[in-house]
Symmetry: C2
Subunit: 289 residues, 2 copies
């Protein structure tokens, strides 16, 4: 375990990598005092102002995550995950291929006990006391109804860590009435209804009005929802810059593929805060309790 | 066929029915000169200022559409559809149970030749020359990939009627790269790729930037997307107030369940405009060509 909080950044992942990563790392270090290490091809990183850990390979946005990870042992995202696994970094951030980030985290760091499928949690800035946690924001596009119960549990744990004592969970749906939606939401609603924290179906306006602390949905719908909120509401310059991977045994953040330097710096600051708060460990504790 | 444009309004459907319907009908008549007929229980409509056609039954938001329609032959939405079928109205509008509106339209008016499953088309106010047509905005939550090709065809026909000569169609997805998304979008992308008008996968920001004239998706995702755009971007007071049902042999509009008088009046005006432009017939012509 590192004494100081150091954040590894996948320098090769993202639409504007590596330039935006080099710029974001510099800003995070200079403006927010974050201890950053860039992971990537030193020859492509130019005159980086922060330390660099070399990685000779990288994974592009349109590669198949499983195949790419197997065939590229020195991929930047794998090296970043190994830095966390080895205790040389407290967290890692990637704006690259989300599936590859998830797979690299599972492979290199492992999952929290009892969790089958990690999930991406995004913090929506709603009027709820501590905002609203969206799970799944994009980890798994095709899932079974039972997965949504597991996602909701992780969302509840995260919301508790964020300060909500009794989080209320809504199922993202096209109507608030019971039985609405598609095959997935109808079955998920039934499975969720056994939980004391389940508040029923919620439509997008109710989510944005802060009526629930956690909103659960599949990763396809959640990613469309998140990107629409961001695009329709205008980019939030003071936002967290990244979403958190819940269910892996370490602090891993997924930044937008389109991130520029400012967003990368925000993501690095969020990662440092999450690592300092022992987010991953505290979520695991709540899940185990 | 009616000589003048008369619009039938389901007075009993919607969260704020019948009061919002009575108010909306009055406003549409007084402010926009729309010839409206209210369809519902006369005793519940108070002192309506427009003509009333009696219907002794109605369908609530949480009823199963097929069962409700069978068991309620005098349901307001069925009577409204029959007015269009009989030529006593040029169009009908309902803010009630969407599934029931769709089923009543199919049962009472029938579908356009060659169309298996009608679709709800919403006009998104994007920078595209004539806005962007969203199909499916909520007709069918669970669909097969082939349905999306049919939806796209109807969307193209509608976009042509709206004035776009060569509409470009995007598939709503979580990434612009080929192969992204869930099982449905991957198969739909393959099926759509045979079409000359297909422009590939589009993410929410690209849709809102007006990069395509038509965006196609399943009715669950489309409804979540539409409601999120409206909630995140703020309600558009000058909007159309309603979405159009494509693929039925008449002009049918679906208004928001939450519509108040102003939104109902906007929907009635949109319906009158659509009927005046022979929207349904022109879409059928483009589909047949």
């Amino acid at each position: 375990v590192t004494a100081t909080i150091r954040v590894a950044l996948d320098a090769m992942g993202g639409d504007h990598a590596p330039a935006a990563m080099v710029d974001g790392a510099r800003r995070a270090a200079e403006d927010h005092g974050v201890d950053v290490v860039l992971v990537g091809d030193p020859e492509r990183l130019g005159d980086a102002t922060v330390p660099v850990v070399a990685a000779s390979q990288w994974i592009t946005m349109d590669e198949d995550p499983a195949i790419a990870l197997r065939s590229k042992p020195d991929a930047s995202v794998r090296v970043a995950a190994s830095l966390v696994a080895d205790g040389e970094a407290s967290a890692f951030v990637s704006a690259g291929n989300t599936g590859a980030t998830l797979a690299a985290a599972l492979l290199g760091i492992g999952r929290v006990s009892g969790v089958r499928r990690p999930v991406i949690a995004a913090a929506l800035p709603t009027p709820a006391a501590h905002g609203t946690v969206l799970v799944d924001a994009g980890a798994s596009a095709d899932v079974q109804p039972e997965a949504l119960v597991s996602y909701a549990r992780m969302g509840v744990a995260y919301a508790r860590v964020l300060g909500t004592d009794e989080p209320r969970v809504g199922l993202l749906n096209v109507g608030a009435e019971s039985g609405k939606g598609n095959a997935l939401t109808r079955d998920a609603e039934e499975a969720l209804s056994e939980q004391a924290w389940f508040a029923g179906n919620v439509e997008p306006p109710a989510v944005l009005a802060g009526e629930v602390d956690v909103v659960v949905t599949d990763g396809f719908t959640g990613n469309i929802f998140l990107k629409t909120v961001e695009a329709a509401g205008g980019a939030d310059a003071d936002g967290p810059g990244a979403a958190v991977l819940l269910g892996v045994a370490g602090t891993v953040l997924v930044a937008h593929g389109a991130s520029r330097g400012a967003e990368v710096a925000a993501a690095l600051r969020t990662a440092a805060d999450a690592a300092r708060a022992d987010l991953g460990e505290r979520v695991a504790e709540v899940l185990a309790s």
